[in-house]
Structures are given as C-alpha cells and as structure tokens.
Amino acid sequence: MSKFRKKGGKELPPISTASLPDIVFMLLFFFMVSTTMREVTLLVNIKLPTATELSKLEKKSLVSYIYVGEPKKEFQKVFGVAPRIQLNDQWANVGDIQDYIIAEREARDEAEQKFMITSLKIDENTKMGIVTDIKQELRKSAALHINYSSRRKVER
C-alpha cells in the first residue's frame, strides 16, 4: 500500500536564483548601451515643438546646447515666469552667448571646429523675440550650423 506513496515529497524544491545576476546584468548592459548620460540639470521647463522632417545629431561631442524656457517652479520666485536662457548649468543673458560659443570652440580640436553644431532646445511657447536675438548672436560668433531640437510628430 504505502509502496507508492512518497514521504514528505509534496513540497516544491526552491527556485534556483543562480541565473538572476545574469538576467540583471543583461538589463544593465541594455540600458548602458541604449541611453546617454544626462549632462546638465535643466533649470527651465522645455516642451519641444513637433516636426516631421527631422535629422539626427550624429556626433554628440560636437554639439553645444542652448536651452530656453520658463524657469522651473523653484526658481520662479527669483526669476519670474518669463523665458530665460540656460547655458551649461547656469542662467545666462543673450550677451553671454558669444563667450559661450567661443569657450565651446576652444574646448574642441581645431580640425573638428568647423563641424560644430549648436542645438537650440527651446520651449514651444517661447516668443520669437528671444529666439531671434539668439540667432543674431550665433551669426555674430559664426556658429552658423544650428539644429532646432524637436520631437517627432505623431500621426493621428
């Protein structure tokens, strides 16, 4: 009778966790490859405009960024809500752009300087007045190759 009944064999064996590190490492490598490092902390809110005719920024090392937008909540007490310019991690005025471009240029190799691109990350609700001023400053400092950063438009 008791010949076929196993004693105490009802419990499941514990699941082996030996492969867990491998799985997590796989995830880790995926994220390391597919993402880029955050370079600056944004001080402004930016909602990029949408467009369809996009081209990718190829070489990250040759790109310098200019951010324009409404200051974030915590800075609104000091700066108000009018759109402001951010260069690197600091607030800036239109007049600082030429110095910024020169500094960015100095930091690059001489052979690469002519391939430099300025990426304008500007909130879509900004008025064109400040954007035109920035463009004029860029022209003055001969940084003519620009990229109006925008999101891909979703077709509906």
């Binding site: 005719e53 008025k127 064109m128 003519l144 990229n147 109006y148």
Partner: protein
C-alpha cells in the same frame, strides 16, 4: 598540502548588479537628439537694404504674425496648405509668369536642366510663438525634401537617402534649398 579555497558566495551578486542598474536608470536619458537642421546666413556688419535685385516673382514670402496667422504671397493660408504651395512655387510646372524664373544649368547625370531661381523668405513677428515658427519651417523643409525625393525616385529609382553622394549633389543643384530667415523688422 594545498587547502581548497572555499567557494565565494554569489548570492549578493544580484544585489550589486541591481544597484548598478538603478544607478544607470537614474543618471541617463533615453531621448535621441533630433531636430530641424538649418544653416544661418553669414553675419554682415551692415544690414543690406532689401535686396532689390531679386525680382518679386522669384520670392515666396511667408509672414507669420503675432497671432500665429500665416500670410503666404499675400493670402491668408493655413499651415496644412503651405507645403503644396511651396512645392508649386519651387517647381513652376507650367512656366507661369507669376512664379519664379528658371535658368539653364549644366548638372551631372541630368545634362542641361532649367533650375528655378526661387527663394523662400520667412519673416516672423517678435511675438510669434516658437512652436508655430518651427511648424512653418518644417513645412518648407518638407516641401523641398519631397521634391528631392520625387526627383530621386523618377531619375534613379531609389530613395534620396540611398543615393551616392554625387547623385545627391546633382539633385541638390536642381532643387536648391533657399530658405531665408530674415530678421523681423524693428520699429525705429
């Protein structure tokens, strides 16, 4: 006698990997940087008075006012219609008198081609919204890209992006991208 070293416990390996994973999740961003690529004109010390040598029929005037309305060649237009209008202007298929002139140019692969002299002039108000401005730019760039794509398809049977560099150059000669971003006129 050599003692066997005890096996290193691997149980905490998962925790360490998780920690690294979370670190990377927090410090990196997924977004790919992309946008409309443009070239600004050279800076000139003296702003030239309005170029009189460009004839009126050769200029496609796009005005965007402070209420984000569009005036294209003197007509109020919606952004959706802008692309078609720009394409018609650049091609001038029926050689009409009010659309731009053409001049014959020797182009590799194509031979003698009549190339348009048209220039698109985009002018905005100081209070125009940046989003609208980009939408308009997008339509204008889109019109030129579509024309180039059509030409590449009909001549080489391939998409413009897949062509050789000198083939692309030839197409660029036939359909030039001349969008002038004039600065808004300042009240004096």
């Amino acid at each position: 006698m050599a003692r066997k070293t005890p096996e290193v416990p691997a149980a905490s390996l998962a925790d360490i990997a998780f920690m690294l994973l979370i670190f990377f999740l927090v410090t990196t961003t997924m977004d790919v940087d992309s946008g409309l690529e443009r070239r600004l004109p050279q800076w000139q010390e003296q702003q030239p008075e309005d170029d009189q040598q460009i004839k009126e029929r050769n200029v496609f005037v796009v005005l965007v006012n402070r209420n984000n309305d569009l005036l294209v060649e003197g007509e109020i237009t919606r952004i959706d219609d802008l692309r078609e209008k720009a394409k018609e202007f650049m091609l001038n298929p029926n050689n009409e008198d009010n659309l731009p002139e053409k001049e014959p140019i020797e182009v590799p692969f194509f031979g003698q081609v009549n190339v348009t002299k048209g220039v698109i002039s985009l002018r905005n108000d100081l209070d125009t919204k940046y989003g609208t401005y980009i939408a308009v730019q997008n339509e204008l760039v889109g019109a030129i890209n579509e024309l180039r794509e059509d030409l590449a398809k009909s001549k080489f049977g391939k998409s413009y992006a897949d062509l050789e560099r000198d083939q692309q150059k030839a197409i660029k000669m036939i359909i030039p991208s001349r969008i002038s971003e004039a600065e808004p006129k300042k009240a004096k």
